[in-house]
Symmetry: C2
Subunit: 394 residues, 2 copies
């Protein structure tokens, strides 16, 4: 037996571990100082009451023979897929029920979807990038190439027809940069993918933060996307499901080549290597889309949006260049004084006890940049912003 040697080619996933190490060392040396964490992309608000109530009711269903649920459909229960279909419809996008697959999260599906693609495909990702896109492909032995995201293009790289690739990752609004593509920019990517015969893996995990109507919440708002794109979405950010685990993937029936159909391949993959999402969780997820649920969820999103605005306003005041902050929970800022990412990390930690994420951890083009997130509490965010202002206005 041999192990998969491709694992030797994956970089150590040391970014958040190193952040944690430095914070722990600082806290040990300064036990009296309160550290303000705006680093990780995890939510802080509890689940909405409508979701909680649906979860309790689903647990009760599991306690009685008449309502007990055993194995569910691999692709998710109809009640949840219908809710997702309606959510798309309200956004002007029509998808068939059989194009929707419920999953345990966008991250799982973004990795697992690769099972249906050839190992020989060349993969295009932006730099900086959510590391999962790279690691999952390197693990499988695929060649990964990079599209430069820089200050010049607003961290939104556009297609280059000189480059040939097979699989394209687009995350918009982006993690880590918070930058979001307009509809016309996405149309260019869709045209490029259709021309090259490539597939776009569209990570829409942050679509719920979009308020600007010129930005697309779904790749399927773009004409031509159904012949070249798969969309991944999640309840993690819209409804605080990071620890509850539910997402969904939309694979159009029109996505096919040489008699092989992506939707059918994925159903075959899922029925072989997956047994569905817990009934209880699916019931909770469906409650997100009820009138009551949606109004509660919107209040939570507004809470995070206000945090984002606080941070963005601070950067505006300080004259610091950034992307995100609007239509995104992430603020991606250019480190002041020409500092490198980790230098700025240490400065913020040591001088004002604020923790963010060094941009260099997301790729070469992240060097000199820094990510702050809006997922903290209002109090912590306000305190961190005041401290950053004081520090950098000196």
């Amino acid at each position: 037996m041999n192990y998969n040697l491709n694992f030797n080619n994956i970089g150590e996933s040391y970014l958040f571990a190193e952040v944690a190490n430095r914070v722990a060392a600082y806290s040990k040396a300064h036990p009296d100082k309160k550290v303000l964490k705006l680093g990780i992309g995890d939510v802080t608000l509890p689940l909405a009451p409508a979701v909680i109530s649906a979860l309790h009711s689903a647990v009760d269903d599991m306690s009685k023979s008449e309502t007990f649920k055993g194995y569910g459909p691999y692709e998710g229960y109809g009640f949840l897929r219908e809710s997702i279909q309606n959510y798309y419809k309200e956004n002007g996008v029509r998808v068939a029920l059989s194009e929707i697959f419920v999953s345990d999260g966008a991250k799982s599906d973004l990795g697992n979807i690769l099972d249906i693609f050839s190992k020989e495909n060349v993969v295009l990702v932006p730099d900086p990038v959510y590391p999962v896109y790279v690691d999952t492909n390197v693990m499988a032995g695929r060649k990964v190439i990079y599209a430069d995201a820089t200050e010049q293009n607003g961290f939104l790289p556009m297609p280059d027809y000189k480059i040939n690739c097979d699989v394209i990752y687009i995350c918009s609004p982006n993690n880590p940069t918070g930058a979001a593509y307009t509809r016309s920019q996405l149309k260019e990517w869709v045209d490029y993918a259709n021309k090259k015969g490539a597939v776009i893996l569209f990570d829409a995990a942050y679509e719920c933060f979009i308020t600007d109507n010129s930005l697309a919440r779904s790749i399927f708002e773009i004409e031509g996307a159904k012949t070249c794109a798969i969309e991944f979405c999640s309840f993690s950010k819209i409804a605080g499901f990071t620890g509850t685990r539910c997402g969904y993937t939309v694979i159009p029936h029109a996505l096919e080549k040489d008699g092989m159909n992506a939707n059918k391949l994925w159903l075959r993959r899922q029925s072989t290597k997956f047994n569905g999402v817990p009934y209880i969780v699916q019931k909770g997820a469906a409650a997100v889309f009820t009138k009551e649920g949606m109004s509660q969820i919107k209040a939570n999103l507004d809470y995070y949006r206000q945090n984002a605005k606080l941070i963005a306003d601070c950067m505006d005041e300080l004259g610091i260049w950034y992307t995100g902050g609007k239509n995104s929970p992430y603020i991606w800022l250019k480190c002041p004084y020409g500092l490198k990412s980790w230098e700025f990390f240490d400065k913020l930690l040591n001088e004002v006890q604020v923790v963010g994420t060094p941009g260099a951890g997301f790729g070469n083009n992240g060097e000199g940049y820094f990510r702050l997130t809006a997922f903290g509490s209002k109090e912590v965010t306000a305190q961190a912003v005041e401290s950053i202002k004081k520090l950098l206005q000196r």
Copy 2:
């Protein structure tokens, strides 16, 4: 872009679909007849009260900021892994906490574990076989070879040193045959694997049905297993979690080769392509191992065991050869009158409205055999057994 052409080599997963089709056609033609289903391996009893109570309590945790849980550990919460560790300990097996990974089910992990192995490995599976073992490997382009399970070896094939292989699947108690290896038989497999440098993927999903003390409930009861085996287990059958989704995988630290360590590779795989099992579900799973939970679970298992005994006693009375029925929820019987699997299926369905699963659907050696399961209700099982007796005693 190209799809993964290996998908063209997977057989259609038509077995349960074909069973469903024939049952639907029969029911349509005979709307007055009640069909007794002893086909599928899904449970029928609701979750135990201790589990329900823990689930409710965990839902409440998610409703308050102070107890809300976001992203959890990739490998599962400590409270659940400690419970699993204790469960092993009570069975005389010592595993380290860091050797235990909580998953969303044995099926997912049995498929996903393949990510850490080379595509060049040759895979040995029994015939008949749980189709997932074959399909996941064919999907990845691996060569699959078969070990014959037959009436002669009691459907428990033993190692053949003339055969070289890298990955060995063992499911004991077996699905579909219900046959279970003794400790000394498993020792032969462990010795063979260590000698050949192969890894055993041990599917222990049905270990909770074992009452005979000469049978191993875990591969790690066997000396030498920690250098050659990974174990997959599930809450599906012990606690009726088929629709609640939780399992666990044990990867010994000692399992390594050429500086690559299976435990570390799996942690890297999971942290890249998985985000853990819902907190709520993990709380429910931990309740299975409480004193109260365990006593309720044992009553449920006894219920299914009595169903299995009813079916096995019927076969004894009819003089029909079978495996399983003891230490297993499955009864794998030799079709009477020399009938082929599907012929016997049609006979049972048409003449006494009993539905089982044709053995031929599990592999060539399954032809002429038939699987009945103990997971139905007591009433349905008793009625089916009476009908079968009447039919075959004629």
